[in-house]
């Protein structure tokens, strides 16, 4: 650490790489934080966690008892044990609200532009948009079935659509501007468990269904334009660095079969234009013009797709399935990169929320009662974070603080943070009681 700082001082190290190194270092040394804890106000399992995208300060959590809470993760509300333990109490708890959800909240996400709004989806078939400051419901969408997951595009400049994955086979896009469904995307053969917007294009939506298919949609047109196929693989992966990506793309292009849709295109928009070009030849009405029937049957997992996560650069997609597999997909070629992640077992009944560190190095995945951290490119298990006493449902990595927040069925929200470099100089005396704290020292009587 000090060597790196010295390098940076002498100018050997670029600022960006310095930052990324420190960050990845910290991200790979996560421990259960003893100095910071969230006082969970939930009486049911925590299903969804998200740190807001603008400030990185407010953590939104939704739980199975239809309660939701917002925590300020930067400033503690009170301290315990002489300032040793910072407690974060929820600044907003919503229970027994007259417009609140009736059943478990399955998803709670922030409005990506600011923290004035957030969206919750629940098993009571409703998606609600809340005003944070007044804690009032400002909009209510009635869905045809249980809502499993909602998503909003963080890049969107021209639309305000909430993509909703529900029990229903159709994915609906709820327009916050008009309060109506803007679009209904049909193609899945079973309920949809996971939904994720592309991080490179505001028009591309990715959904994963209980039928094991991951479908890519261009929301400007009808039908999906790509279905990921697990048997359609690409040996070798493109390296994460941007400068090398072009060569890798070319290799993948060479290896890819000629009829594949999105392959070989250097950017999304050009790919789309290619798709549009190909529409002429297609006869099927329901399918996207560029999509073949055989491709439409393709599956990404043997079983339901439980979670989806696109990397920050928009080039890769991670999917977790109830077949206890985590797969890394190259978005552009639509190929399975065949990275083997060392997973023992995933819980298969509920949608899970996985997360990726900012520089796409570490994948955090809830595996039963623990959270596993994988190296994304090799699939090696880096850490196993054990702290929850029941199944973990969701995890959320805050790249700002390099902290991981996890929520589980044991109603706790745990904070995993890198070890403190310098121990805070707190006096070993409890201010409230004035009694000296029991020192954590060896105590041999004989």
């Amino acid at each position: 650490m000090w060597k790196k700082i010295g390098d940076r001082e002498s100018g050997k190290l670029r600022p960006n790489s310095f930052i990324t190194r420190i960050r990845s270092n910290r991200a790979s040394s996560l421990h259960l934080s003893n100095h910071k804890e969230l006082v969970s106000s939930h009486r049911g399992s925590v299903n969804s966690l998200q740190v807001d995208l603008t400030e990185g300060r407010y953590l939104l959590s939704g739980a199975a008892d239809a309660s939701l809470a917002i925590y300020d993760i930067q400033r503690a509300t009170d301290y315990e044990a002489g300032g040793l333990i910072a407690k974060h109490k929820p600044i907003l708890v919503d229970k027994q609200h007259q417009n609140a959800h009736k059943y478990a909240i399955s998803t709670a996400i922030w409005y990506p532009i600011d923290t004035g709004l957030f969206v919750t989806g629940s098993y009571d078939h409703h998606i609600k948009v809340w005003d944070t400051n007044t804690t009032q419901v400002v909009m209510d969408f009635k869905m045809p079935g249980k809502v499993y997951r909602t998503a909003m595009s963080s890049l969107a400049t021209s639309h305000m659509l909430i993509a909703a994955a529900t029990e229903d086979v159709q994915v609906r896009l709820c327009d916050m501007a008009s309060g109506a469904f803007a679009h209904t995307l049909s193609g899945h053969r079973d309920g949809v468990m996971a939904v994720e917007w592309s991080t490179s294009s505001e028009w591309i939506l990715m959904t994963g269904g209980c039928d094991g298919a991951i479908r890519f949609w261009d929301i400007r047109r009808a039908g999906c334009f790509s279905v990921l196929d697990q048997s359609h693989s690409q040996l070798g992966r493109r390296p994460p660095l941007a400068d090398k990506s072009t060569t890798k793309v070319s290799t993948s292009k060479a290896r890819a079969p000629p009829r594949k849709v999105g392959s070989g295109s250097s950017s999304k928009h050009s790919g789309n234009s290619k798709i549009i070009k190909q529409t002429k030849g297609s006869a099927k009405q329901r399918l996207h013009p560029g999509l073949l029937t055989s491709q439409d049957r393709a599956t990404a997992h043997y079983g339901a797709v439980l979670g989806l996560k696109a990397t920050e650069d928009g080039m890769y997609l991670l999917s977790a399935g109830s077949d206890s597999r985590l797969r890394l997909w190259d978005i552009q070629s639509g190929c399975n990169t065949l990275v083997h992640y060392e997973i023992v077992r995933l819980q298969s009944s509920k949608a899970i929320q996985l997360d990726v560190s900012q520089d796409s190095g570490v994948v955090f995945l809830p595996c039963m009662t623990s959270i596993k951290a994988f190296d994304m490119w090799s699939g090696k298990s880096k850490m196993t974070l054990q702290g929850h006493y029941e199944n973990v449902n969701c995890c959320c990595y805050s790249s700002h603080d390099q902290e991981l927040y996890t929520g589980g069925n044991d109603r706790q929200i745990l904070i995993w943070s890198p070890l403190k470099q310098i121990p805070a100089d707190v006096d070993e005396c409890d201010r409230s009681t004035g009694q000296p704290l029991a020192a954590d020292e060896d105590n041999w009587s004989d």
Binding site: L32, S33, N34, E37, E80, A81, L84, I85, T369, Q386, G387, H388, Y389, D410, R411, Q412, L414, L437, A438, D440, E441, D442, N443, W444, S445, D446
Partner: protein, 624 residues
């Protein structure tokens, strides 16, 4: 390397040895050696943690329990141990508390429950001591407490609560004392007045008595003459006492009124004022005040008053009240069976009672069950009127009971003036309702408790073959020797004449037949028993072989799974055997029945029956 390996073997071996016991507690010597070995080397500590965690996974609650005790001992001492254990706390809790449904605690169940309670207790202790340093501890504690709702012993909170309660109680007593003190402060003058008045009265009484005594003085010199004759010390003391008695003013008809008054005053003094003063002194001593001057002065005054009162009391006793009490004592000595005190006092206060009451007194006099006491009483009162003494002689001896309270009284009782709340009841209330005397008499019938007559059960005393007499005590019939009759020392029945006709009722042949039959039956039984014994023996042998096989198999299984089977030596094996025995369920009657009923043969028979039934149903479908 060599050295390292050796020491590791030592730690692991020690732990294995300590946990391989069926005793409820760890061997303290082993524990001490484990601690001392682990203390000096971190690598050994790591090995110990590993070994302990693997031992916790054993399928035996006893092993887990002992392991948990070792873990606790090391946890409270070593920081490194804590950090290592805390990482796997959920696993440790799963194995020790058994909160996961798919991983219950292993057999034997009694020790498993002990293990659970201990684990919970330890977790609480760890949490209170080291909770702030380890988030995992807090989490585990919180999970077990708030999510799974385990009952923690809550030692700390309990202690705090008890402390709090004590403090509150003290505060309350202090308040009460303060209140009393205030009351005393306001009442002190009146108390003083009362005391002074009674003291004055008593001194007046005494003065009167003393003045009357001076008239009696001339009697004294008469006694003086004989003084020299008494050489014996005892006799002399007796004499001195009697002289002193004589010194005292004797109660007679003249000064009787004065004595009565004095007695009453004395009683008042002792029972009321002295007690009150004593109490107020104790209040003054105990009360805590910011300003102590007033209290000190009051205390001084009260002590003075008390001393004064004591002086007066002494004087009174000297003067004669002591006589009255002595009289009381004597009477009580005689009336052993607790003559009611109210009766005594009434007798003293009013010596000339109405006849009726005298009667009742007579009756209660005869209360003592032992005749001796009544005799003494009679002797003691020779001057009783002859009628009464005559009656006393033939009066029945009664047990004391509440019916004696109004013996012979002819009074009616007010029904509604017994402290009952009658206003709130419905209906009219007659405040003047009277229960007539005869009804009262009916209500007060003497109640007696049935007491069984104590009767010694006779011994059978029939002669035995091996010599001696049968010592069985049966009420009527001895199961071995027939009806119990009186027998002499040899055991032969005394009244043969009575007995014989009974035996003669049977004819001789009948008797013979009976004897033959008896012998045959006995033979049959013996044969049966022998067969049964043989079977039993065979079965026992089989069971033994089977048990041995099982034990060997289990040993092999345990040895193959355990990390440290290499260390186990011969005596370890024996220990294992006993551990395995703990696991084995004791076969109850139910189990034996189950094996019989669920055996293949029985099931087959049942199935056959079922088949028959089915066939029947098919053949005759119209019948059911």
């Amino acid at each position: 390397m060599e050295d390292d390996g050796n020491t590791v073997a030592v730690v692991v071996g020690l732990i294995d040895k300590a946990t391989n016991s069926t005793k409820p507690d760890l061997d303290p010597r082993l524990l001490k050696s484990i601690k001392s070995v682990v203390r000096h080397s971190d690598s050994e500590l790591r090995f110990a943690v590993e070994n302990l965690m693997s031992l916790m996974k054993r399928d035996h609650s006893q092993v887990r329990y002992l392991t948990l005790t070792i873990i606790h001992e090391l946890f409270m001492r070593s920081k490194l141990f804590r950090t290592l254990v805390v990482e796997n706390l959920d696993q440790l809790l799963t194995l020790s508390v058994g909160f996961r449904r798919n991983q219950p605690l292993p057999a034997p169940p009694a020790i498993a429950s002990k293990l659970r309670t201990k684990a919970i207790e330890y977790l609480e202790k760890w949490n209170t001591t080291f909770g702030i340093h380890y988030r995992q501890l807090r989490l585990g504690y919180d999970y077990l407490k708030n999510t799974l709702r385990y009952q923690f012993p809550n030692l700390q909170a309990n202690a705090a609560r008890i402390q709090q309660e004590r403090r509150e109680r003290e505060l309350r007593t202090k308040e009460i004392l303060l209140k009393k003190y205030e009351l005393l402060k306001s009442n002190i003058s009146s108390i003083k007045d009362e005391v002074n008045s009674i003291v004055d009265e008593i001194s007046e009484c005494l003065d009167i008595l003393i003045s009357s005594k001076e008239e009696n003085v001339p009697l004294d010199p008469v006694d003086e003459e004989d003084f020299e004759d008494f050489r014996n010390v005892e006799l002399r003391t007796i004499r001195e006492n009697s002289l002193k008695e004589a010194d005292k003013v004797q109660e007679n008809s003249e000064n009787k009124v004065v004595f009565d008054a004095l007695r009453e005053l004395y009683k008042l003094l002792v029972t009321k004022h002295l007690v009150a003063v004593q109490e107020s002194i104790s209040v003054l001593i105990r009360v805590e005040l910011s300003d102590n001057r007033l209290r000190d002065s009051m205390l001084k005054e009260f002590i003075d008053i008390r001393n004064h009162l004591k002086l007066i009391k002494k004087k009174c006793e000297e003067a004669g009240c002591v006589i009255s009490t002595r009289e009381n004592d004597e009477e009580e000595d005689i009336w052993e069976e607790g003559a009611s005190e109210s009766f005594n006092t009434s007798k003293q206060v009013t010596p000339d009672k109405p006849d009726k009451q005298n009667d009742s007194a007579g009756c209660s006099n005869s209360k003592p069950t032992n005749a001796k006491a009544t005799n003494v009483k009679l002797k003691a009162n020779p001057d009783m009127d002859p009628l009464k003494s005559k009656l006393m002689v033939e009066a029945p001896v009664m047990r004391w009971g509440s019916f004696l309270d109004n013996w012979g009284s002819n009074r009616g009782y007010m029904a509604n003036q017994r402290g009952l709340e009658v206003e709130a009841h419905w209906g009219r209330v007659d405040h003047d309702a009277v229960i007539p005397a005869n009804k009262i008499a009916e209500l007060n019938v003497q109640a007696t408790v049935y007491e069984e007559e104590h009767k010694e059960i006779q011994q059978c005393r029939a002669p035995l073959k091996k010599g001696g007499l049968c010592e069985r005590r049966d009420l009527k019939v001895c199961p071995f020797h027939g009806p119990i009759v009186a027998r002499d020392d040899e055991g032969t029945p005394l009244n043969q004449e009575n007995q014989e006709p009974d035996t003669k009722n049977f004819s001789r042949e009948e008797l013979l037949n009976q004897a033959v039959k008896n012998v045959r039956e006995r033979d049959k039984e013996v044969v049966k028993k022998r067969e049964y014994d043989k079977k039993e023996l065979k079965r026992a042998k089989l069971a033994k072989i089977r048990g041995h096989n099982e034990a060997v198999l289990r040993d092999a299984a345990i040895a193959s799974t355990s990390v440290s089977s290499a260390v186990g030596d011969s005596d370890l094996g024996r220990e294992k055997d006993s551990l395995a025995k703990m696991l084995k369920k004791k076969a109850t009657a139910k189990d034996r029945l189950a094996t019989r009923l669920l055996s293949r043969k029985a099931i087959a028979r049942q199935a056959n029956l079922e088949d028959d039934h089915l066939k029947y149903r098919e053949a005759f479908p119209n019948q059911w």
